[in-house]
């Protein structure tokens, strides 16, 4: 059990590529911290630096009270779960799990007890004599977990451990890993590109992009109060709808309206009252976002007309409990900076709304959509930082 502290950590590769910029992270004892970000954001590099598999260019890394910058991986008292599991193919499940204990010269009977205990927790009792090649994907994943927990290390480091599993197993293992971690109380750093994993598993989530830390917070805070455009778009599925528009305050300064292409959304006074900083943007362009669930089929929602928008429906996805309605508006789409996202081109933005399944909206309808304007997020269009105050 230990804290993990990263202070102004930088990683510059010999070819000059600057992968991590001044990364600061304080990971508390027993905490489950998820590093999430699009491909190439530096999350795996950061994890590998904690493991000692990647050299730290500068900055200070501490596990517990010990500075570990120059400490070999084997002396860091960490266990790692790899994306492809990295099981030793020539060893049985038993030997795979026990390899670290054997290297540490743990007494034979204790080694045996701990291997069997780990196997019991992971329901691998029947597989102990098998070789990895004879196991299913899910079982291999469990062996990789077993190899980590048998060590009773100061920290678990997990590098996309579920990405090689099929969707159903992934959901199941997601819950199992999270509860196992809570049970064992071992500090865990977990890397994933899947924001659902990040949200469901982490005590806190650190969002990275291009080697820069964007925000570290609890999953709910990330979702409710993203600090910038990137986090707003990255967290949540479907993504927050982002537009560039102009805010105009009315003469009383109490309310105002936002342009959405050729349309406008009226802004209630309480929004402006809660965020006095918005007053400075009067007549200025800014970026604003609407989460899909903050929109509704206007026929099912009694909003005044000035809080409704119109658009032609291009896709309806019925999911049973909800329907996702895609419709076009003539506003300029905003590129959130996520390299994995599909970038929309041109002057038409596709908006996704999460509607009540009773909605009767059909493909190619001209939909009237109510916007819960009090739930809007606002961002400065040049700094791209959120305006919450």
């Amino acid at each position: 059990m230990a804290t993990i502290t990263l202070e102004k950590i930088n990683k510059v590769y010999p070819n000059g590529f600057h992968a991590i910029h001044d990364l600061d992270l304080d990971i508390a004892d027993t905490e489950f911290l998820v590093l999430v970000g699009p491909s190439g954001c530096g999350k795996s590099t950061a994890l590998r630096m904690v493991a000692g598999l990647e050299e730290i260019t500068n900055g200070e890394m501490r596990i517990g009270d010990r500075i570990v910058n120059e400490v070999e991986p084997k002396d860091r008292d960490i266990a790692m779960v790899f994306q492809n599991y990295a099981l030793y193919p020539h060893m049985s499940v038993y030997d795979n799990i026990g390899f670290a204990l054997k290297l540490a010269k743990t007494p034979k009977d204790e080694t045996d007890r701990r291997i069997r205990e780990a196997a019991r927790i992971l329901e691998l009792d029947e597989q102990l004599d098998r070789k990895p090649a004879q196991l299913s994907g899910g079982q291999r994943q469990r062996v990789a977990m077993g190899r980590a927990i048998v060590r009773q290390p100061a920290a678990f480091l997990m590098d996309e451990p579920l990405s090689n599993l099929d969707a159903k197993l992934r959901v199941q293992m997601r819950a199992e890993i999270a509860s196992l971690q809570r049970e064992l109380g071992v500090t865990t750093v977990y890397v994933t590109h899947d924001q659902v994993e990040a949200m469901t598993m982490g005590d806190r989530v650190a969002v990275l992009k291009d080697g820069f830390l964007q925000q570290v917070d609890t999953p709910q805070n990330l979702y409710d109060r993203p600090q910038n455009v990137f986090v707003a778009a990255f967290i949540g599925s479907p993504s927050m709808n982002l537009f560039e528009g102009t805010l105009t305050l009315d003469s009383s300064g109490q309310g105002g309206s936002l342009t959405l292409g050729s349309q406008a959304i009226s802004i209630p006074s309480e929004v402006l009252a809660a965020r006095p900083a918005l007053a400075a943007y009067d007549g200025q362009p800014l970026i604003y976002g609407i989460r899909p669930e903050d929109m509704e089929d206007a026929s099912l929602d009694s909003r005044p007309d000035d809080q409704c928008i119109h658009g032609e429906v291009s896709l309806v996805e019925a999911l049973g409990a909800e329907i996702l309605v895609h419709f076009g508006v003539d506003a300029a789409p905003v590129d959130s900076g996520d390299p994995d996202a599909v970038v929309e081109l041109g002057d038409t933005a596709v908006v996704v709304g999460r509607f009540n399944p009773r909605s009767r909206i059909r493909l190619r309808d001209s939909a009237k959509v109510a916007v819960h304007a009090e739930r809007l997020s606002f961002f400065d269009s040049s700094t791209r930082l959120a305006i919450w105050d």
Binding site: A51, L53, A79, M80, A86, H90, M91, R147
Partner: protein
Amino acid sequence: MGDIVSALVITVIALAALAALLGAMYWVVGRLPKKWREGARAWVFLFPSAVAVTIGLLVPAIRTIYLSLLDDNGNKFVGFENYVDVFTTTGTRLTVFNSLSWVLIGTIATVAVGLAMARFADGMRIESAAKSAIFLPGAISLVGTGLIWGFVYAGPPFDVGLLNAVTEGIPGLPDSWGGGGDRLWLLERGFGGVDPPDSAPGVNTFLLIVVFIWAQAGISTVIFSAAIKGVPDSLIEAAKVDGATDQQTFYRVTLPYIRSTIVTVATLTTVAGLKAFDIVAATTGGRFGTSTIANEFYVTRFVQGRSGVGATLAVLIFILVIPVMILNRRAQARAEEMMGG
């Protein structure tokens, strides 16, 4: 000129005839009932190589076994007398022992040197240069290799020996050994000063095995190097995180992972060792207690004209290769099972 043209014409006609024959057979097979078609089609393509293997390999092998049961003139049936001869005559017994030394020392050393070079060259700045340097000897024909090392080991009266030149300056070495006025490396007698053929195998055979290792280590380094690079990085990293030192990682993860490659290289080297002829023939011609089974076979059959014992020695090589092949097959199967292949 006319000869070349007619030879070319005949070659072309022969190839065309073969193609026509195959085409015709393929056509006929295509008209067979469906249930026979697949099997028959395979035989059409196997047929030419089956004929070649029968004429070039099977028939001579059977004939050699038959000859080994006849006397040296190939007239009288003598049963296993030749085999008894080979194992009771001191000279040939030494030959068998020498060949087994080639196999044992040569194979172990080739694998060990290859693994060591591959491991330590891995990731070095001069890796490719170092590997090229160690690979080069393997590109020279073994007869050439033998001639080169003949010069290295040479003593008087040909005062060109590289080893002699190098050891000249080392104090404490006697000025001469092995007779004559200088240091002889390939002694003109067997081990312990006993003249061949009654001598034990000794330093001479060992010196020739060194030549063999020199010639084989390059290719084994290159093969091992490729195999080591094929070990997934994450496996090595997992071992490091699990607490393994570099050495433990190499012995407990890398080596088991490339096991099937090791078995392959060991098999190839073993077979090459059993066949060892060129180096022996080019350096000592099998004298001074250095003869191997293959060299002895050549001398017995083609120099002395004794077909019975000659054939027996050839059969002996054949028999010795069989267990190697079986072991190789088993090891490969185990390795494939491990890798889930």
